[in-house]
Structures are given as structure tokens and as C-alpha cells.
């Protein structure tokens, strides 16, 4: 089988059929067919045992304290008799081969495919979630398939994907599965990339960044009120996570979904850009992506292109060197320009690479370094 972009993986060795975002919502709908997806029962990492069979989860800033048989906010980690378990280890509910630009990573192996996987669950509750059918579901409510770490790595190798992306829902909640898959994939020469909201505690994050190549953080806004109201999370720990990743040297990109009237303040974007410059550095790519009405926010229109252009311009003016617009195929903001000579070095159209002139990580014209993972 030849593997083109956006190919839906129909089989994965012994794993059987797998479902994915590309096959449409009809087959991704919440489980209602009379079968029960089998849950995993693998002991979780990063938790404390407390008296009376209680546990405290140390994976994310929520630090859920749970009695026996209770689940965390994420819905996929459960206290069972005083031991904390992940219910989604090896239970992928979405598996696709996607262009890596779809994640989006623009400075990681452009033009290659990423085997992209997810399980159910998320540790926040964004009212604008684009993948709510799986992220806001409990594992019993989605169809999932046995795809243990080695099978994921084998599948990526089989389809010549140089990366595995943990994406769609929130990979923090399937941390153990992601971590072990990354270790296995690395043995096979396959890199791992993570697409996350960044609600993760420092200790597990510091362990994770040792086994993955790149992390994309969805920065939902640059003010706490937005996080409280529309995300049910906090901005502060996300910024801490971004700083840890940046300091580690693991490749980092930031995506900011621009929602009309809710988080599209130019002033906030200037503040965010100044923070990035100071605490992360000017080389982190920042993507301003277009919102489409979804999940619980259906009363707002798609983001005007002019708004995205305005925010991109503001970030560039503040000194961020690689600023993109997303979800506007064919827009000039999709392309990568040399920050020194301003020549286009990568031309994109949607998820396609039209031209990639980056040579050994440099601009072909002026030899300025273009940061990223290019080979």
C-alpha cells in the first residue's frame, strides 16, 4: 500500500481496525452500539498514595485527590483500591497518518508524515474544543483498539513515518502510553512529537522531554480569565511548562487559536510576544490559527482573516521571528521567511509543502540559521 498524505490507516498489524479523525464524525461518534470498550488497568505514574485508599494525582496541576473508584477530571485515570491506574494505556481511539504540518509543526521535518494517535480524555474542558468527541469523552464512550507501544512504533515504521505524534485529545492524560511509545519508537529510530495544552506538572514534563523530539503547546490565551472561563484551566502552569521545554532544548512551537471577541486582543498578543521573547526566545514559531464554530461555542463566526493578519503583524513587530497564520490555505502567512534577508525559504499550501529551500538548516540566500529539526 503506498502511503500518501492523510492516508487513513486501516490496519495496524495485529491491532485490527483503527478509527481516525479523517474518516468523519459518523464513525467517531460516542459509543452507542452495545459493546463496551475494554479498559486498560496499568498502574499510573506520578501519584501519591494517601490514607484510606485515597490517591493524589501528580501528573497535572489539578492534583485530583480521589477516593476509591473515583476518576480524575480527565476521566481516564482511576483509583482502584488505593492504586491509581490509567485506563487508556495502549487503547488508541484515533490513529491516522497526517502531514506533520497538520499538527501544526512547521519547523520539524517539513513534508513528512506523522503517525498520529490519541486516546480518550483531557484534563481541561475547552468550550471550543475541535476534537471534543474524543477529548471530552470517557474511555468507555469511544471505540478504542489495542495498540500497545511496540505496535505503534511498528506501524509508524511500516508506513515510513519518521515521527509519531501524540495529538487530537490531550496526551498528558495518556502519559504512560505516550512515554513508553516514545521510548520504543526511539529504539526504532522514530522521533516522537507532542501536541499538548501544556497542563502538566514539571516532574513528568522533565522526564517526557528527554524522550521526545518536539512539543507543540496550545496557548489558549494570554490571560487567566479566559483560561478560567473557557478552558477550565490555568494559564500560569502552562507558561511554566513552556519555559521548561524551551530551557531543555526540545523543539517547541506555540499555537494560538484566535477566537473572535474572546482572545483576539492585540494588546494581549503584544504582551504574550514580549513574554515569549523574554522567557522563551525569538526563534519559537508562533502560529495564529483560525477558529471555526465548534462544540459549545457555535454562536461566533470563523475568525476574520484580517484579525489573524493583525495579530501576526503585532507578534512580528514585537520581535518574534517566525510567525504564521493557520487554517487559511494559500495565505502568505503559511510560508517560512528568512528572518535576515526576508526571502521565502518554505512555501506551503495548506498541509502541502510546495517548496522547501532550507539547506542544512540555513537560508540558501544569506546562510542565516533557520532553527528547527530539518533532518
Amino acid at each position: 500500500m503506498s502511503m500518501n498524505r492523510r492516508t487513513f490507516v486501516r490496519t495496524a498489524g495485529a491491532a485490527g481496525a483503527v478509527l481516525g479523525a479523517d474518516i468523519g464524525p459518523a464513525l467517531r461518534r460516542l459509543y452507542a452500539f452495545g459493546q463496551t470498550a475494554e479498559l486498560s488497568h496499568v498502574e499510573a505514574r506520578y501519584y501519591k498514595r494517601l490514607p484510606d485508599r485515597e490517591v493524589e494525582c501528580d501528573l497535572c496541576p489539578r492534583r485530583c485527590r480521589l477516593g476509591d473508584k473515583e476518576r480524575g477530571y480527565c476521566g481516564v485515570r482511576q483509583n482502584d483500591g488505593g492504586t491509581y491506574y490509567t485506563l487508556v494505556y495502549g487503547k488508541a481511539c484515533s490513529v491516522n497518518v497526517d502531514p506533520i504540518e497538520k499538527k501544526p509543526f512547521y519547523h520539524v521535518l517539513p513534508g513528512t508524515d506523522a503517525l498520529s494517535i490519541a486516546t480518550a480524555g483531557c484534563n481541561v474542558h475547552c468550550k471550543f474544543c475541535q476534537n471534543w468527541e474524543i477529548s471530552q469523552a470517557r474511555p468507555e464512550q469511544v471505540q478504542a483498539f489495542d495498540l500497545p507501544p511496540k505496535a505503534v512504533a511498528d506501524t509508524a515504521a511500516k508506513y515510513r513515518c519518521p515521527t509519531i505524534a501524540y495529538t487530537y485529545s490531550e496526551p498528558t492524560v495518556f502519559y504512560e502510553y505516550m512515554y513508553d511509545t516514545s521510548v520504543e519508537a526511539r529504539r526504532q529510530g522514530i522521533r516522537s512529537v507532542v501536541v499538548s495544552g501544556g497542563h502538566i506538572n514539571p516532574e513528568p514534563l522533565e522526564a517526557l522531554i528527554k524522550v521526545v523530539a518536539a512539543i507543540k503547546i496550545d496557548l489558549k490565551a494570554f490571560n487567566e480569565d479566559f483560561y478560567k472561563t473557557y478552558v477550565r484551566g490555568e494559564l500560569k502552569p502552562v507558561l511554566e511548562a513552556v519555559k521548561i521545554i524551551a530551557k531543555s532544548g526540545t523543539w517547541l512551537e506555540i499555537v494560538y487559536l484566535v477566537i473572535p471577541t474572546l482572545n483576539d486582543s492585540v494588546e494581549d498578543i503584544r504582551k504574550m510576544s514580549r513574554w515569549i521573547l523574554k522567557d522563551v526566545g525569538p526563534d519559537v514559531p508562533v502560529h495564529f490559527t483560525r477558529f471555526h464554530p465548534m462544540y459549545l461555542i457555535k454562536n461566533l463566526p470563523p475568525t476574520p482573516i484580517s484579525t489573524l493578519e493583525k495579530l501576526r503583524q503585532a507578534a512580528l513587530e514585537e520581535g518574534i521571528r517566525f510567525v504564521y497564520t493557520g487554517n487559511i490555505p494559500g495565505h502568505e502567512g503559511e510560508n517560512t521567511y528568512c528572518p535576515q534577508c526576508r526571502k521565502m525559504v518554505i512555501e506551503r499550501r495548506g498541509y502541502e509543502i510546495v517548496r522547501n529551500d532550507v539547506r542544512q538548516g540555513t537560508c540558501p540566500s544569506c546562510r542565516t540559521r533557520i532553527p528547527g529539526i530539518w533532518a
Binding site: A32, D68, R138
Partner: protein, 298 residues
């Protein structure tokens, strides 16, 4: 009789020991409690004042902490039989919860077809969580088809428990089991989410009656089962006002905590704030001084 009347019926010997219930006594407690609540000659006559023979009635149980602390068949099936005696066809009476697995753990025999009582989880074939998410105030959820489509009228038959976040879990919070994402509504003491979920049309327009299973009350470190803080109270609590019934449930827990030398829920940092929110939203009466509590013993 005003709606802010709550009836507590205790059954002498109904819980001979933890984990055991006397079904005949439970049936007698239902008969007594509903008769008092409705002021009718018998329980069936009372039920006929809030249900019609054409209704499909859901009895939403709570099996999450099965088997020790779940609404057992010995408590739900006598209520189903009373509904049948009130003229509702057995196949139109559903004892239900989130999953078949939890119901089985609570010792239920599943049944989703035929002329007998339905006993089923939302993951039963043909049910599930269909459609688009329903948004209501701060709630955004998919509803169980059992609650949104199958039933026309609803009873919350909840286990009364202390709850580490909400303070208490009783009749109103029991409807967390009617949505696909209850884990998203435990912040801020589950407030105002318990009240707002109850206020959603799929719940409020169908809810008719609350019954709290206080046969064994987990008065501390709930909602998990801890035998050292589980008291065999041997009581069922009946109310038409969902807020008042929960408030009385809260009082039972507070009284137990006081008797055992434990701090109040407020002192423990988890007052049941949702009761006040529910009262503000006009869902019922939260103030105990405005609730008439009638107690009886069988």
C-alpha cells in the same frame, strides 16, 4: 401538602448487617413514606398523582461504588413494583445508570427488552449519548438517551453519601450519571454545576420524585466506601422538592458527623454550596427552617 415536605421513614432491622437489606421491610418503608408524602390512602394512589399510565418512568440509581455502596436491587425493584401497581406498564419502567458493568457489579440482572422491567446502562444497544452536546448555563454535555429520549418521567433514587468535593451527593447530583462528562463538573465544590445540570430541560422537565437511600450512610470520606464511617441508618427519604430532599439528606449527614465528633462539612471546607445555588435558581427550598420534615418508623 406543600412541596417543601420531606419524609424520613426508618425501618427497624432493615439493615441486619452491612451489605444486607431486608426487602420486605424496604417495601413497607416505601408504602409508608409515599403514603405520607402524598397524603393518599396508599403509595400507588400517591404515585398516580405524578405519573400517568402512559409514562415511561426512569429510576436513576447510583451504582458507581458497587457493590458496597450502590443502590441495590432490593431498594430499586420495590419502587418499580409500586409504579407498576400504580398502572405503569413494567416494560415502561427502567432502572438505569451509566453502564451495564456498574449495574452488574451492583448485582442487577440486566434486561433491555420484553415486557419486564428494564434494567440497563446507557451503554445498552440503542441508547448511548446521541446527538450534539446540549448547552445549558455552564453545562455542555451529551445526555444519556435513557434520560433524554426513553423516559418521560424520572425518579432520582440516590445513595446518600458524604462527598469530598460537593459536600454531599444525593438526589440532584445523581443526575451527573445522566451525562457523558460528569468528571468536568467537580470543580468549585461541584457548584453551580449540580444545580445547573438539574435545571437543564432533560432533567427538570422530567424529574418527579426524589428518594434517598439512607439505609447505610457514608457520612465521612465519601463518596468511596469506608466501613468505619458507614452508618446503618436504615432510612429512606422521600421528597417532591429535589432541593429540600437533598437538604434533609445533608442534615442527616451533618447529624451523623456531629454524633461521631467530626467537624461540620463547612468546617471541613466543603459545604454543599449547590443547595443554595439551586434555591436561588428556583429549583426548591434549601433552608431547613422552611422544610417540614416528617419522620416515621416501620
Amino acid at each position: 401538602m406543600g412541596t417543601a415536605t420531606v419524609v424520613i421513614v426508618r425501618g427497624k432491622g432493615v439493615v441486619p448487617r452491612l451489605g444486607q437489606v431486608e426487602p420486605k421491610l424496604v417495601a413497607a418503608m416505601y408504602e409508608r413514606g409515599l403514603r405520607i408524602l402524598f397524603g393518599q390512602s396508599d403509595a400507588a394512589a400517591g404515585l398516580r398523582t405524578i405519573f400517568s399510565p402512559s409514562d415511561r418512568v426512569g429510576i436513576k440509581v447510583n451504582a458507581i461504588a458497587a457493590p458496597e455502596l450502590a443502590t441495590p436491587p432490593e431498594v430499586s425493584l420495590p419502587l418499580a413494583r409500586l409504579l407498576a401497581s400504580a398502572g405503569i406498564r413494567e416494560k415502561n419502567i427502567a432502572v438505569w445508570d451509566r453502564t451495564n458493568r456498574e449495574l452488574k457489579d451492583a448485582r442487577y440482572r440486566l434486561n433491555a427488552e420484553g415486557d419486564a422491567f428494564r434494567v440497563m446502562g446507557t451503554d445498552t444497544a440503542g441508547m448511548g449519548y446521541p446527538g450534539e452536546p446540549v448547552t445549558h448555563l455552564n453545562i455542555g454535555s451529551l445526555f444519556s438517551a435513557i434520560q433524554s429520549s426513553f423516559v418521560t418521567a424520572s425518579i432520582s433514587l440516590a445513595i446518600l453519601k458524604d462527598h469530598g468535593m460537593a459536600g454531599i451527593t444525593a438526589g440532584m447530583k445523581n443526575y451527573f450519571g445522566a451525562i457523558h462528562n460528569p468528571n468536568k463538573y467537580h470543580d468549585d465544590h461541584c457548584d453551580p454545576y449540580v444545580a445547573e445540570l438539574f435545571d437543564a430541560p432533560a432533567v427538570k422537565s422530567k424529574h418527579r420524585l426524589t428518594v434517598l437511600d439512607a439505609l447505610v450512610v457514608q457520612y465521612h470520606r465519601g463518596p468511596s466506601y469506608h466501613p468505619r464511617w458507614a452508618e446503618p441508618c436504615g432510612a429512606l427519604v422521600f421528597g417532591l422538592d429535589p432541593v429540600a430532599t437533598d437538604a434533609v439528606g445533608g442534615k442527616i449527614i451533618e447529624d451523623l458527623r456531629k454524633a461521631k465528633g467530626l467537624p461540620t462539612l463547612e468546617e471541613d471546607g466543603r459545604p454543599p454550596l449547590y443547595l443554595r445555588s439551586a434555591e436561588r435558581m428556583g429549583l426548591g427550598t434549601a433552608s431547613l427552617q422552611n422544610i417540614r420534615i416528617i419522620e416515621d418508623t416501620v
